[in-house]
């Protein structure tokens, strides 16, 4: 559609016409600003925790564990130099030999979500699948942070309109 529009603009005398082929889905999935009615709907980016610890494939598990413990995290995300998410270290991974390389104990290719995902269906999906947290990346797979279901539920309960509150007992 945007291609036909671009050609039509040229036919109308515009000489510098460009087409953003990936369109607004790409823009929003990258976490870039949105304008319009949907902008006010809670999204993953509203509650994502951006301070999640990271490590690299060739880090030693013991060193990573100590670093995560020191800042109170039980999970660590494995990224490359471009901060693209390659894996995740869950609680179970910490039981391995401390000299083990991260790449040998990580969960490879964890499922990720985009910052523009609407929060309500995402939290529902997490609840249905009994998932406590999900990884948020931009559309290039670059880490944005970790979204905890608890944070999402709290955010949604705060956003409930007054009219949606259950009636009081008489």
């Amino acid at each position: 559609m945007s291609n036909r529009a671009a050609w039509r603009l040229e036919s109308l005398g515009f000489s510098q016409v460009y087409r953003y082929a990936a369109g607004k889905l790409d823009w929003f999935a990258f976490g870039l600003p949105m304008v319009g009615e949907f902008a006010a709907i809670p999204k993953a980016s509203d509650v994502v925790r951006r301070d999640v610890p990271i490590c690299h494939l060739t880090d030693r598990l013991g060193e990573v564990y100590q670093r995560c413990q020191a800042i109170g995290w039980a999970v660590c995300l494995v990224v490359n130099e471009q901060k693209v998410v390659l894996g995740r270290l869950r609680r179970e991974a910490w039981n391995a030999n401390p000299d083990t390389l991260v790449e040998n104990v990580m969960e490879s290719g964890p499922t990720t979500f985009r910052p523009d995902n609407f929060l309500e269906p995402l939290v529902k999906r997490m609840r249905d699948k009994k998932v406590g947290s999900v990884i948020i990346t931009n559309s290039d797979g670059v880490l944005i942070g970790l979204l905890f279901r608890k944070d999402g539920e709290e955010q949604l309960s705060r956003d409930q309109p007054v009219g949606a509150a259950p009636p009081r007992d008489k």
Partner: protein, 67 residues
């Protein structure tokens, strides 16, 4: 001939004064669009509807995705 560009090009061209045009129907534009974009649905794209655009500046068209 229109030039296909990516997200980075869009951001650069906007800084340089490009005009963004969402060519989807108005209801979809009203739901969500890029900052600064105006709406000229493809079905209404003609000499009259493009009058808000400056022919001397670059114009970027977009819709949902690779449609």
């Amino acid at each position: 001939m229109p030039t296909d560009i990516n997200r980075n090009d869009v951001q650069r061209l906007i800084v340089d004064g490009a005009q963004l045009v969402e060519v989807l129907p108005a209801d979809e534009y009203n739901e969500a669009h890029l900052p600064g974009a105006i709406n000229i649905p493809l079905k209404k794209l003609d000499a009259q509807s493009v009058k808000p655009l400056d022919p001397a500046r670059p114009v970027i068209t977009y819709c949902h995705d690779f449609q």
